[in-house]
Symmetry: D4
């Protein structure tokens, strides 16, 4: 068994790198959104032409990014959604809902302080973790049956 894992959500910490490093040696393919914040915000107008109205500037970019994220979610066996400490992160919750409706195995990653606010998202998940290390341990167990320690 091999797993395709999409890493959605927070782009301001290195949680993705931590998971990918931890999973070295496992038969996992990782995908992620474009995590360069400026490129992600400006891709639409950089390629398809400037927009004076910020709403359409954002709209064009969000749609170009959707080409990547929809493909990544569609191909994923497991979708990990990370909620960090900053920003609204509605796109992370949107991805979680999108993945849930497609029947993907959902792992939610957040601090204990977000538990109440994320209870509907967590209720759709197969695992709720606080640390990237735990995601790695889940992937290892799922693929090999080996538990940590």
């Amino acid at each position: 068994m091999a797993l395709n894992v999409y890493l959605s959500g927070e782009i301001h910490t290195d949680w993705r790198e931590e998971i990918m490093a931890g999973a070295a040696g496992l038969d996992v393919t990782f995908t992620a959104p474009v995590t360069d914040h400026a490129a992600s915000d400006d891709c639409g107008v950089a390629i398809l032409g400037a927009e004076p109205n910020k709403v359409w500037h954002d709209h064009k970019g969000a749609k170009v990014n959707a080409i990547r994220t929809r493909k990544a979610i569609a191909d994923a066996d497991v979708v990990v959604v990370r909620f960090g400490e900053m920003y609204r992160q509605w796109n992370a919750a949107f991805d979680a809902g999108y993945a849930a409706a497609l029947g993907k195995s959902l792992i939610v990653l957040h601090g204990a302080d977000h538990a109440h606010a994320l209870k509907e998202v967590d209720a759709a998940a197969l695992a709720v973790a606080e640390e990237p290390r735990q995601v790695v341990e889940i992937l290892r167990y799922v693929l090999t049956g080996a538990l940590p320690g």
Copy 2:
């Protein structure tokens, strides 16, 4: 043509009542989550037994509520998701993603100040409105072809 419309999101203002009153006379069936905040939070333990750990208290409740919300979204032609001024509202964004993945027509309702944070959600929508009145006008136009004024 008749429409089934699910009204998701904010539960602390009367935007649902405003839409339902405005749509009086149109062939629309509205559904909504349970909007009694206390009942919604406690339904799981009130029916299925107390939990000392708040996480499981919330978990039981979120799942019982999901029986209602999944049915409502599955039956909906149009899903309206309202983002208000308070709280994280991750469940609203989750519903939007869930509805988008099912191919539902999505209308997002929020103030202009949330436009950037909601750009991915808005990009999946067929309309982005600021006022409940506009949602009513969309429903009237979709059903009758009549424009406001």
Copy 3:
């Protein structure tokens, strides 16, 4: 058996009325796009706010109209697509492709002079007719087994 029939395409002749009048007495529910050309073009900005750029003016309107057309096609058993003499009518061909992919029974209605240009669309159809009268005759036969004359 009852049929739900969506009448897509040309909005500048009375072919829809001709079909609906001819089908009086049959157990058919007809739906159609908004056929008021001005309202259809302007619905987005009339409800959701003006756009200085014609592209976004059109974009908002096309999406609001999609709420109606997607619902109508999704509910339809039969999709009739009429190609007239004027305009590009790419939305009609788009609807035909959309309906075909959903497995709807497709009836294409056009003059003989369009046959070569529409060969791919016609190849996906269960009937190709030249006159609205023939669509009525198909509906009557499908529902009652009675042939014309």
Copy 4:
């Protein structure tokens, strides 16, 4: 991530070659309809036998071509539909509708003068481009996160 991209529409300019050349080095597999106009028109009768009636001549050919185009669209992650300056191009719009109904990421490629006539098609797209170069830039960004320039 690798992308499978179907290039639909206009067959009288070298836009496909321009995109394929520009995307050299990216992990993209391109497919296209048969772009030899004469072969495409005559394939049905050349293989399955002559037809005195041009309608059935075309019908046989359109269906044989559909074996290729349906496979290509079904396998595609991204469908690019090019509308050129000549002909009705209803098959291009049909492909766009077909792809949209299957949930494919749609990129529409056309000159600004077609914007109004294509507004319904564009509204279903994740990107609307005017130049093949922009399609290449989208594919590069989606796969690598790199913006042009």
Copy 5:
């Protein structure tokens, strides 16, 4: 519970009438193909214009009939397919395969002498009966729990 039952296959005996009469009083809606052999053969050309080649004559008719049969199978909970003593009846076997792929509950009705030739069809069925009376008894049992006699 109510059942929608499509009665496919043989059109030269009164097995449909026997089932419908026997099921009087049960909450069953029956549908069937057009069983007037001449109308069924000629519907295409009678409505859409004559064809000198019998193959296209048949083709037009088979497609018009498909509007009815696909709708009927799509709406059915149970598809009963009757194989009689005469003719090739490939359309009956085609309907059985079509229904099986859609997950419909299949009941096959044929004499014992056809058992070997129909073994693949029967293997996809939930019941294999020899007499219309048995189909009625199945419908009565499924709806009411009552067994014959």
Copy 6:
């Protein structure tokens, strides 16, 4: 909102009647398998002819019963699966898996002593109850928002 609820599992206690009586006045349609044990075991041979081998006797009956249970599960919004004290009840667990794969809202009803053995089934459920009364309370809450007491 109205709910269609399938009551699967144990047939030797009156839990179905308790739920149906408790839900009087709610907009719920209940379905159930045939609960007459003898009729359920013998329906296949009683209608379709005796079998000397008990395996085929059972096989014929199980398939006739599947016409009812598949229809009921397919139509259900909520599937309640009751595990009692007696018998293997593998058909109940099979129904639970079948319902889960179709995305139905699953409520499992069993005594605390079965919790460990049913952990995989419970993990797929939106509620795990011990008493029929709790199922009624869930249905009432889902439909009306009212909590018990």
Copy 7:
């Protein structure tokens, strides 16, 4: 583009070998049912135990064969169904219906004398051929754009 082609139907002539030989060099994977008539008829009882009743003997075999044929059809892009001169061949028509309902590209292969009896099957096909050579020519054209001669 590569094609997966399932060759269904007649097992008493060498039409499969003719197609596979003709398609040498094309990127096609062929599958087929077990064409050893005796093995196909007896596989159920040979593996799972003898049955005194021929109906169950056949039933066991038909189901074991279905493991292969369902997999093959599910994986196929193109399903070729050959109707020969002998036997009822209901399983071929069943496969055609099954493939049609799954949206597979269907090619039917039969002599002109079967055209009327197969009109419903042919109406669901993208090509109707008389000779295996024509099937090869279609596959070559679909994959390479090259016409015969």
Copy 8:
């Protein structure tokens, strides 16, 4: 043709090893749940944190295991479900129902004494075997057409 086979059910005998050894040389990929009973029971709390309540201990583990089993079933062409002599094995029956609803080819493996209790599960299967050797023979026949002996 290659087959992906999921081996579900009993974990206390070496039936999986017997099948895998017997199938050596066939083009089969086998998957299975984690069969280390202790690891399977404790994986949730070992990775995601201890739970004082056994119900939540089990719940966390069952969900982590579901990441593996859902992936395995989703990817499988054939699902073999083994019912042994010990334990309730409701998860095996749940897997069988889940696989059946997804249209997987189901092979059930159990002793004759379980036949009556498993009649609903067996009725959804394409083969019912008593010995692992028979499963190997089915796989060999499906892939190569060769019968035992």
